[in-house]
Amino acid sequence: MSLFNIFNVAGSAMAAQSQRLNVVASNLANAESTTGPDGQPYKAKQVIFETTPVPGQIGQGVKVSAVVEDASPMRVLYDPAHPMANEQGYVTMPNVNPVEEMVNMISASRSYQNNVDVLNTSKSLLLKTLTIGQ
């Protein structure tokens, strides 16, 4: 039954988008974290989406294949008074770009909403199908 399968497809997309939103939250929260458990400044993370086939069905879902560290260079700030400053007075800050993260957040939430709509439409179609013959 194809319509039931839409729940799997849209559900997988919602899970993937919420993971993306989670990563954005982590990046924004740690935009100023100059040190972590390993003593290193926080590195921005990004999710990689991948198509995943649904067995025996034509539809394809989404999954997060990997969460990778952002390769962009770390931000360096001159602040000799900072406790994490090196001998030259420079502090290595996380490579989080708040503007990019905000855009990412809007995109993720819009995609999430789209999939909620898809799910609701499929649900109402299924309910209408159940009324055949009544």
């Binding site: 993306r20 789209n114 055949i132």
Partner: protein, 134 residues
């Protein structure tokens, strides 16, 4: 007589099944709107319905008479009809060919036509019942 009743419903039943399958394809397009290199897929509904009614199956091939027609065979079939890749009007840099406005419009259109098919079947069922009960 039961064979006749079966014939009565066959057209709309086939159409409903195809609409459900197409709905799933469109849902997976919307789900994969952010997946790099995902190619949006769809079926040519009218030729798919014709093929399914005639029981022709996989031999169907389309005549591309306009540049905007679907092209390229995705190698999969829905009820015997080939699944094809959509030609994007505005391709994106990450190789994804999902255009959300097109997909959402097609999704809403397909949902409405699905509901129409459900209504047709219901009406037919009511007609048959009226004939039986007098």
């Amino acid at each position: 007589m039961s064979g006749r009743i079966d014939e009565l419903f066959q057209f709309h039943q086939t159409a409903l099944n195809l609409r459900a399958a197409r709905q799933e394809l469109l849902a997976s397009n919307i789900a994969n709107a952010d997946t790099p290199n995902y190619k949006a897929r769809d079926i040519n509904f009218s030729s798919a319905l014709q093929g399914a009614l005639q029981g022709e199956g996989a031999q169907l091939s389309l005549a591309g008479t306009a540049a905007a027609h679907l092209q390229g065979d995705a190698g999969e079939t829905v009820m015997g009809a080939p699944v094809q890749y959509r030609i994007p009007a505005q391709p994106s840099a990450d190789g994804n060919t999902v255009e959300m406005d097109t997909e959402r419009a097609q999704f809403a259109d397909n949902a409405l036509r699905y509901e129409a098919s459900v209504r047709f079947i219901s009406d037919k069922a009511r007609d048959v019942l009226a004939a039986l009960q007098g």
